[in-house]
């Protein structure tokens, strides 16, 4: 089955499928540089008068640079916090036994099962009483710890041989030093996977920012994009320009980190 080279037909089929994956992105781009797209029933596959006017209009109508910056800063902060909180907890679950540790770990895992939708109303109320509605802190806080991250890093730390930290212990190193100097450097691939997941999840997250942010200039990219559609239903060139701008940073990240993302996803299925 795997020994012989696949037929030309199969090669072509796979290629056609891949084109179907890419085409919507290309079409979004083509639309974004075709002013007035959506006004005629015959789409122009190659725009006659390509123009960046939709992008200019986008910048004029929305504080777009600010919105991209909002999403970027929130994604970076979420990622940094998740890396810190998850790796610290993972170290305990991998290296520091105590009574009831399994029960605590089970509670961590159980939080992974709780859908965001259940939390939306009480979280909104909680943020309201803390005065955090329409603040960046309010968007950020619920995402600073991740049970998934703890689980992922614990698995990775469990596969680091304990001999190394025992040797370090004999040399007088405490847990903080073993954590920082031995275990963390050895789980770098898992940290990379978590970085990418945390960043993408935050960059793409929708429901929570939609609920908690009000001020237009504070909104994140997905929320602003969804709002754009209501305002200019027929101006597809502008909506697509917004989509292109929102895909580009993600695309850049994806090209450089594809390996970690795909490994990370593939790994989750094998557990």
């Amino acid at each position: 089955m795997r020994k012989q080279r696949p037929s030309i037909t199969l090669n072509i089929l796979v290629l056609v499928g891949a084109l179907m994956m890419v085409f919507p992105f290309l079409w979004a781009f083509v639309t974004s540089i075709s002013p007035g797209a959506g006004l005629s029933a015959t789409p122009q596959l190659i725009p006659e008068n390509p123009s960046l006017s939709a992008y200019a209009e986008l910048l004029q109508r929305l504080p777009f640079a600010q919105i991209v910056l909002n999403s970027l800063i929130l994604a970076i902060l979420t990622t940094v916090f998740q890396l810190i909180t998850s790796s610290l907890a993972a170290y305990v679950f991998s290296r520091m036994p105590f009574k009831g540790r399994n029960a605590v770990f089970a509670v961590y895992l159980a939080t992974m099962m709780i859908p965001m939708q259940v939390l939306v109303v009480p979280l909104f109320v909680e943020m309201k009483s803390l005065g955090l509605i329409d603040t960046y802190l309010g968007v950020l806080l619920p995402g600073i710890a991740s049970a998934f991250g703890v689980f992922l890093l614990r698995q990775a730390m469990n596969s680091v041989p304990q001999d190394l930290d025992q040797a370090a212990t004999l040399d007088g190193a405490g847990h903080f030093r073993i954590f920082g100097l031995i275990v963390l450097p050895l789980v770098r691939p898992a940290l990379a996977t978590l970085t990418v997941f945390a960043f993408l999840n935050s960059w793409n997250s929708f429901l929570w920012p939609l609920i908690i942010l009000r001020t237009p200039a504070m909104k994140t990219l997905p929320v602003a994009l969804a709002g754009l559609q209501g305002q200019y239903t027929t101006q597809w060139d502008i909506v697509m320009a917004g989509s292109v701008v929102s895909v580009l940073p993600m695309l850049a990240l994806y090209i450089f980190t594809q390996k970690y993302i795909i490994q990370g996803v593939a790994g989750t299925g094998l557990k």
Binding site: L10, T85, A266
Partner: protein, 321 residues
């Protein structure tokens, strides 16, 4: 300072205690070292435990508390016990939302599984540009649901979208897609399957690569053909990955929201109103937070039961190597 040092300092020589060093249970702790150990554990755990407690666990229980009341998010709460639950179960809107969500899953899952499997099988052979292809198929997975929904709304635009234009070229009058109550769910399903195909493919591909080559060789020697090998070796050996895909797809499928919100908003005529959209509308449109919380708990219990049934049922068809 640590367990190992304690046991070492109290022993006459390294040779005598080498064996005892191995087990973590060999620990002679004083109260001081115990306290220090406990403090270290706390310092490591608190940064994640506190947020999980305050932003997941406590809200989870307060959602239940809210679900027992009538409440418009601003005024005082009015205790109604399990009234909200009773009201929801008899409400045609809720039943419709569950039915639409199930419609979504029934349409989405076969599409994404069979498609993902076909691509995984193709990419598991020595095809040209394998990792490039894998990267392309995976691209929509990392894109936000909102972008996917907007782009597909444009592709499936009834009057000026390219899909209906292409259909027109072959003489087919395309449907109204998201503007037509009969086609709104299929539109959402197609866009969602397109986005998730690469995810399922990567999971299944990892499963395929773990199947030992000699199984296929032995089967070929025994005269098994291509299809026989697929059904007698590949699919059974792949069942753990399949199980994972199905469990995850159902959990995510019942929570479908972003793409519905951005593509149809639950319309037209409530034809694509799913459960989470209903929760959102109840809370932030109609100010019926009690009912919304009850519905979110119903959804959570529903997902939990379905997942448990699958975990129970897996013995019948999932083969772990």
């Amino acid at each position: 300072m640590t367990a190992l040092q304690d046991s070492r300092s109290g022993s006459p020589g390294p040779t005598a205690t080498t064996k005892r060093h191995r087990g973590p249970e060999v620990r002679r702790k004083t109260t001081g070292t115990r306290l220090k150990y406990g403090l270290t554990v706390a310092v490591f755990l608190i940064p994640s435990a506190l947020p999980l407690l305050f932003f997941t666990i406590i809200p989870m229980f307060s959602a239940f508390w809210i679900s027992l009341n009538q409440w418009n998010l601003v005024g005082p709460m009015k205790w109604v016990g399990l009234g909200n639950y009773g009201k929801l179960i008899g409400d045609p809107g809720t039943q419709g939302a569950f039915l639409h969500t199930i419609y979504y899953i029934v349409g989405y899952l076969p599409l994404v599984y069979i498609g993902g499997l076909a691509i995984a099988l193709a990419l598991n052979s020595r095809i040209r540009g394998r990792s490039m292809m894998r990267g392309l198929y995976f691209l929509p997975v990392v894109t936000s649901w909102i972008v996917v929904a907007l782009v597909w709304r444009w592709l499936l635009n009834p009057s000026t979208g390219i899909v209906n234009w292409l259909l027109g070229l072959i003489g087919v009058t395309g449907p109204g897609w998201w503007t037509d109550p009969a086609w709104s769910m299929p539109s959402i399903i197609v866009a969602s399957a397109w986005k998730d195909l690469g995810f399922v493919m990567v999971i299944l591909l990892a499963g395929l690569q773990a199947i030992p080559e000699d199984l296929y060789e032995a089967a070929t020697v025994d005269g098994a053909g291509r299809w026989r090998r697929l059904f007698s070796i590949t699919l059974p050996m792949l069942s753990p990955s399949t199980f994972f895909v199905i469990v995850l797809s159902l959990i995510n499928g019942f929570q479908v929201f972003d793409q519905v919100y951005a593509m149809t908003g639950g319309g037209p005529n409530n034809s694509s109103q799913v459960v989470v959209q209903q929760i959102y509308d109840l809370t932030f449109r109609y100010g019926r937070a009690g009912e919304a919380s009850a519905l979110s708990w119903l959804l959570f219990l529903f997902i939990l039961v379905i997942t448990l049934i699958q975990v129970r049922g897996q013995k019948k068809w999932v083969h772990y190597a």
